[in-house]
């Protein structure tokens, strides 16, 4: 198939210009999705438990830690992002791992037997820190804990610079700074942190704490789909008004026309996605998780699926009214079935299965996993492949029917 990028760009630019020329489109592109995100977010309420912090950072074996551990943990009490839960009892590494993988806690610290005694004896005890590298909540705990721990470790080490004999004679008297000793302490700190990075479990419970973590992405997806499906009537109009014939008579090949229409839909959808996701983050504070690559990929795939669906609908519809009607049915039905109006987690299992087979269900599931589980591309691969399959099928059908429409 002969393709001319210049002509494809010309067609794309025209369609973008037409979208922007109609100010009423701004209602569908931006205003409606934001209003729905807000209203539905308010209706569904806050999903976290009361006013308590959202995530749990648990410390096991606190009884072994003595004053030094209390000193380390003090700055983390009453943290705004997570609740610090301190247990005197100890726990096995396996049970701590399980807690993290099931999303029951977002970070854990294990203080081994004899921590305080070892420190007093001049040895170098270790504490074990467990976190999940791909979960936003876990990384927030890590971001808060590591600097606090590093400062404490330096403080504990610095105490060794004090000459014990001089301190006994006169505790307030400064001692000479022993550079060699300081260097040896830095090289071998008195307290060591071992971090264990955990993998994720597919069975892990979803941890969405705010309904806007659902309504933000879901109404973004829904209005992208609706807008691109509504664009189907433009193609019908092109056929009726015979601008499509004029396009066919130009130097643009059928491939140029298909790609021009498809990619212009993608650009409009991508513009809408960036705007809405950005505004949701800025206004409602939605954190889309630790994997920007996954976020970009899922949006690109969903926008492409929506654009291909709009193109297919446009080639199959015989009138603007038919395109509008079918577009509205699909634009409302697919989001409802796919869990954009309400989370799939609350519908019966068989409806969940149907929902996750649809592109809307696949996209919102990926969003939930990114936000609530901290998943990335690898963990979301099955759903991403599902979206890719939808794209291939819809685009192939759109190309076939478009060719038929323009080459009778």
């Amino acid at each position: 198939m002969r393709l001319n990028p210049g002509l494809i760009w010309t067609i794309m630019r025209l369609r973008l210009k037409r979208v922007m020329a109609d100010r009423a489109n701004l209602i569908w592109l931006v205003a409606m999705p934001l209003v729905f995100s807000f209203i539905m977010g308010e209706l569904m309420g806050n999903w976290s438990s009361g006013s308590s912090p959202q995530f749990t950072f648990i410390v096991y074996g606190a009884a072994n830690g003595g004053e030094q551990l209390a000193e380390i943990l003090a700055p983390l009490e009453d943290h705004e992002d997570f609740a610090l839960v301190v247990r005197d009892t100890t726990a096995s590494r396996a049970s701590i791992r399980a807690l993290l993988e099931e999303s029951r806690v977002s970070g854990a610290l294990l203080v081994g037997d004899g921590f305080a005694d070892s420190l007093a004896a001049g040895l170098t005890p270790t504490v074990d820190f467990f976190h999940d590298s791909e979960r936003g909540s876990s990384q927030r705990i890590r971001g808060a804990f590591e600097p606090v721990f590093a400062a404490a470790a330096v403080r504990i080490s610095a105490q060794q610079l004090v000459d014990p004999a001089a301190a006994a004679d006169d505790p307030g008297k400064a001692t000479a700074f022993d550079v060699a000793r300081y260097d040896s302490l830095v090289a071998a700190p008195r307290v060591r942190l071992d971090a264990e990075v955990l993998g994720r479990s597919r069975e892990a419970n979803l941890l969405l704490t705010d309904s806007r973590q659902h309504s933000g992405p879901s109404y973004t997806l829904m209005f992208i789909l609706m807008f691109l499906l509504m664009g189907a009537k433009d193609l019908v109009q092109e056929q009726k008004q015979r601008t499509l014939d004029r396009l066919r008579l130009s130097w643009a090949s059928t491939g140029d026309l298909v790609l021009g229409f498809f990619l212009s839909g993608m650009i409009v959808g991508a513009f809408q996605a960036v705007l809405l996701l950005g505004m949701n983050a800025a206004i409602f504070g939605i954190d889309y998780g630790p994997s920007p690559a996954c976020l970009v990929l899922v949006m690109l795939l969903f926008v492409a699926v929506s654009s291909a669906a709009g193109l297919l609908l446009g080639t199959l519809s015989r009138s603007g009214g038919q395109a509008d009607g079918l577009g509205m049915v699909l634009g409302l039905g697919l989001p409802a079935l796919g869990g954009l109006w309400w989370p799939l987690e609350i519908v019966p299992p068989f409806m969940q299965s149907i929902g996750r087979a649809l592109p809307t269900g696949q996209a919102i599931t990926i969003f939930h996993d990114m936000i609530g589980r901290g998943w990335g591309i690898a963990e979301s691969a099955p759903m991403l492949l599902g979206l890719t399959a939808w794209l291939v099928v819809l685009l192939a059908l759109a190309v076939v029917f478009f060719r038929r429409a323009v080459n009778p």
Binding site: R18, R242, R246, L249, W251
Partner: protein, 310 residues
């Protein structure tokens, strides 16, 4: 420039174009005349490569429409009957877009766009949205869009439908000017007066068949030089008229329909005063007395038995 032989286009069992053949010379303005549904648009669609022919062959500007669609498309301009423009954009934006799709860019595009806007007298309305244009302005812009790339052959499919006489006059004048500049034009219409005014040669198409083809004046001559005289006549006076008419060398019989008598006469100058005198003697009104010279309407009526606008 255009050569068609035995062209047939069928939609299932419906024959839209039935074995038509004609040719158009370079620089000629050829009219394809026929009522709605006669097959004019289908013929243009086949010639412009939008539709494949069922049978027959057609060559446009040296390119076979079946084998070299790209070649044909690069050499032709098409102005469809519909306003094939983006009405939510301005006139200049529309022309820029269509120019780009025909490979124009940069200063060439800019120059050609301004030329075309001036040619169709829309320079002052270049930024205005097409949706706010009158019917005539839209038609003119529609024509300009088909000319952006400087085609060798222009297909015009009823380009004056639905506009007032003044706007039509502007479009016809522009087409004549383009033709005088050397552009080959195939013009379809169901307006006889347009075909008479504009075209050198005419093909009359009816129900997919070419029923007459040739020089406009020759075609009219084929149906004879006889004028038709018509006037109001009560039925009870018809016998009297028939007796009188035996000395007038009529062509065919006297027709009498809906209270109106029609006679085809060879020597109008002699017969007309006699009819006037007779009517006056009979105290019948003279104000509906009409003389019709043979024209394309007569030709079409003669060929198909129907008036063109039926």
């Amino acid at each position: 420039m255009i050569e068609i032989k035995g062209l047939v286009k069928k939609y299932g069992s419906t024959v839209a174009v039935d074995n038509i053949s004609f040719s158009v010379e370079r620089g000629e303005l050829f009219g394809l005349l026929g009522p709605n549904g006669a097959g004019k648009t289908t013929t243009i669609s086949v010639l412009s490569t939008l539709l494949p022919a069922t049978e027959g062959a057609a060559v446009v500007a040296g390119c076979d429409v079946a084998k070299d669609a790209d070649g044909v498309r690069r050499r032709i301009g098409v102005v469809p009957q519909e306003i094939a423009l983006y009405e939510d954009l301005g006139a200049r934006d529309n022309l820029n877009f269509w120019g780009r799709l025909y490979g124009l860019s940069g200063k060439d595009l800019q120059r050609r766009t301004e030329e075309m806007l001036e040619a169709v007298e829309l320079g002052e309305h270049a930024r205005q949205k097409v949706s706010s244009f009158s019917g005539g302005m839209k038609r003119r812009l529609n024509l300009a869009a088909g000319l952006m790339h400087g085609p060798e052959v222009l297909f015009l499919d009823e380009p004056t439908v639905g506009i007032d006489a003044q706007a039509r006059g502007k479009i016809l004048a522009l087409i004549r000017r383009l033709n005088e500049d050397g552009l080959t034009v195939l013009y379809t219409t169901h307006y006889l007066e347009e075909a008479e005014q504009l075209c050198d040669r005419i093909g009359v198409i009816d129900r997919g068949k070419m029923v007459a083809l040739g020089d406009k004046d020759d075609l009219i001559r084929q149906i004879g030089d006889e004028d038709t005289i018509s006037f109001l006549l009560p039925p009870e006076r018809l016998d009297e008229l028939l007796t009188l008419s035996t000395k007038w060398d009529l062509v065919g019989d006297v027709e009498h329909r809906r209270g109106c008598a029609r006679l085809r006469v060879r020597d109008t100058a002699r017969v007309l005063p006699e009819i006037q005198m007779w009517l006056a003697g009979q105290q019948l009104p003279l104000d509906h007395l009409e003389v019709h010279r043979p024209n394309l309407e007569t030709l079409y009526l003669n060929l198909t038995g129907r008036a063109l606008r039926e």
